[in-house]
Subunit: 285 residues, 2 copies
DNA sequence: AGATTTTTGTAGTTTTCCTACATACAGCGA
DNA sequence: TCGCTGTATGTAGGAAAACTACAAAAATCT
C-alpha cells in the first residue's frame, strides 16, 4: 500500500539478482531521479540490457510492472527529499537554501516518524496522564523545547513547569512524588547536569521520560526511553533538525494526553481561547 | 521540474475550465489517491466524460499528458500526506495518531516552503547581517520560538536577546538604534502588546521583521513582512504546527546569515563545540 | 565434452494513450 | 425566432509504449 523504501528494497534484493538485472538496479540507484521521465526502452538502453530484463527487474522488487515501479519510485523521491542534495553550498541562492532547509527538516521528521516505538509512546502517554505533576528539563536548545512543551501541556490542565537551570531542576527533582513525571530532553544525551537530575528524580520514585539519541546515558537512565536519532552533520551550514523532531514527539504525547482526557478538555480549551481574544486587536473570528 | 502543488493548481484553474473538464477536476480533487492506479479510461468513465477530455484536462493544468499528470499527482500525494485523513479520531491507536501528527507537520512545512517569498527572505537576511543588535519578540507559544531563535543566532556571533515580557520589550524597543532589527513572531498576528512594541521600534528607526499570517496587523506594520499562513483548525486534536513552521523559517534566516558571515564563523563555532564537550560525560566523538 | 538448467534477448501481441475529425451545443446578430 | 459562427465534446482510428511467448545463448553440472 505505502510506497515504502524503494531504494532500500532494491539494495536488499540486488544480491539475489542475476547479472543483467543487477545492471538495472545499479543504474536506478545511481540515477533515481532520472528514471521518472524515462520510458522502458530508455532505461533498457542506458543500463545496457533488453526491455524484458527491465520488466523482470521491476517484478523482482515486488512491483506489478514498469509503470508501477516508476510510480512508486516517484513517490519515494517526493517523500524523502534526501535524494536531492541537501547540504547548503556557497553558490546557493536564497530560494535554493530555503528549500533545502525545509526539505532536510521534512526528511528528518519522516525518519523519526518511522523509527518511533508505539509501545513506548503509549507508556509515556499513560505515565503523563496519571501524574500529578509534569516537568520538562533541558539545556541549551533543548531548553527552548522544554519551554514550548510546558506551554503546550499547561493548556491540557496539567500542573507543569519547565526548567533550564541546573539548581532549580535539582531542587524540584527532590520534591517529586512517586508517579510524577519528568521529561528529560537532550540532543546529545550526554549532558552531565541533566543526567544528575534524572538520577535524583528516579531516586525519589519519579518517572523519567527521556527524549534523546539511542544508547546515550540519558536514554539508559530513563524509565521510559523515547529514542530519537538525527544524524547531526554538525556542519555549520546544516540546520539542527533535532529540536524540531523533539517538538513533534512532544506534540504526539500532548495529543495522546488530550485523547485520554477526553471531552471535558474541550470546554477548558474553549474558555482559554475566549480569554486570549481579549488580548488581541480586532476581536472578530 | 518540481512537483509543486498539483491540487492547488487544479483549484486555481478550475474556474477557467469548461464544464466537462471541470467534472474531471472535481473528481480528481475528491478522490486524489485513487487516480494513481487508474487508467485514462477508468477516470473518464468515473468522471462521466470522454477520454480526450481527460487529456485536455491534463494539458489545462500544465502537464504533458495523462502519464505526466499521474506522476506529478503521485509525487504530491507522497510529499504531502494531508490527503489522507489527518484529523485524529477517538479510535486511533498510538501508532495512528503519531503518524498523523508527523504527517500534518510535514504537510504544513511543505506548504510554507512553497509560499515563501525569496526576495523578502533576502531582505531579511541582509537586515540581520547589518544589524548591531537583533532581538526576538513573541508571546505564548511564540515566546518559546523566540527563545529558540535567540539561542540559534547567539551562536552566530550576533548580539541577541529574546523577550516575552511586554514591559521589557517596550524598554528594549525604545533603546534601538537605526538599523537594529527586531524579529516579531506571532501565530495570530493580532496580539496587541506585540503591535505596540513594533510601533515603538519603528518610531526609533529600528527594522522589524515579522513572522505572522498574511494581512494581519503585525505583518502590515512590519518593515520586512514574512508571511506564514497555516490553517489552524484549532480543533483540540490538531497540533499547532505554526510554531514549527516559524522555527524553520528562522532556521533559513540563520543559514542565510551564516553564509554571509562566511568562513570566519567556522572557527567560532568550532571553539563553541569544544567548550560544550566539557559539560558532557564521555568526551569521545 | 555433452546435457540440462538458467539467463538473456528477439519478435510479436496487447494495451494504453493520444490525435484528427465530425457532431453537437451555445452565443450573437439580424 | 432563426440562422450563423465559434466553441465544446465525443467517436474512431492510429501511434507508441508496455508486456508476453518463445527461442537463442550462457552457465552449470554430470
Amino acid at each position: 500500500m505505502k510506497p515504502a523504501l524503494m531504494t532500500q528494497k532494491i539494495s536488499d534484493a540486488i544480491l539475489t539478482m542475476r547479472k543483467s538485472e543487477r545492471k538495472v538496479a545499479e543504474f536506478v540507484l545511481a540515477h533515481p531521479a532520472d528514471i521518472i521521465h524515462m520510458r522502458i526502452v530508455d532505461l533498457a538502453k542506458r543500463a545496457e540490457v533488453s526491455e524484458p530484463t527491465v520488466v523482470r527487474f521491476c517484478r523482482a522488487i515486488g512491483c506489478e510492472g514498469f509503470q508501477d515501479f516508476k510510480l512508486n519510485l516517484a513517490q519515494q523521491l517526493a517523500a524523502s527529499p534526501s535524494f536531492g542534495q541537501i547540504a547548503v553550498t556557497d553558490e546557493d541562492t536564497v530560494a535554493d537554501y530555503s528549500h533545502k532547509v525545509f526539505d532536510s527538516t521534512v526528511d528528518t521528521l519522516l525518519k523519526v516518524r518511522d523509527s518511533l516505538n508505539p509501545e513506548i509512546m503509549d507508556r509515556a502517554v499513560n505515565a503523563l496522564c496519571n501524574a500529578n505533576r509534569v516537568e520538562f528539563f533541558g539545556f541549551g536548545a533543548s531548553g527552548a523545547v522544554a519551554a514550548d512543551a510546558q506551554h503546550k501541556f499547561f493548556r491540557l490542565q496539567l500542573a507543569t513547569a519547565a526548567y533550564s537551570d541546573h539548581h532549580i531542576q535539582h531542587m524540584s527533582a527532590m520534591s517529586m512524588k512517586p508517579g510524577d513525571v519528568v521529561v528529560a530532553i537532550s540532543q546529545s544525551g550526554r549532558t552531565e547536569a541533566l543526567i544528575n537530575a534524572i538520577e535524583v528524580v528516579r531516586s525519589v520514585g519519579g518517572i523519567v521520560i527521556a527524549i534523546a539519541p539511542s544508547g546515550s546515558p540519558v536514554i539508559q537512565k530513563a524509565s521510559i526511553p523515547i529514542e530519537v536519532n538525527v544524524e547531526e552533520d554538525i556542519e555549520i551550514y546544516t540546520p539542527l533538525s533535532s529540536r524540531i523532531a523533539h517538538l513533534v514527539v512532544i506534540d504526539v504525547l500532548a495529543i495522546g494526553v488530550a485523547k485520554h482526557k477526553g471531552p471535558k478538555l474541550h470546554d477548558h480549551l474553549f474558555r482559554l481561547k475566549q480569554g486570549l481574544r481579549k488580548l488581541r486587536v480586532n476581536n472578530e473570528r
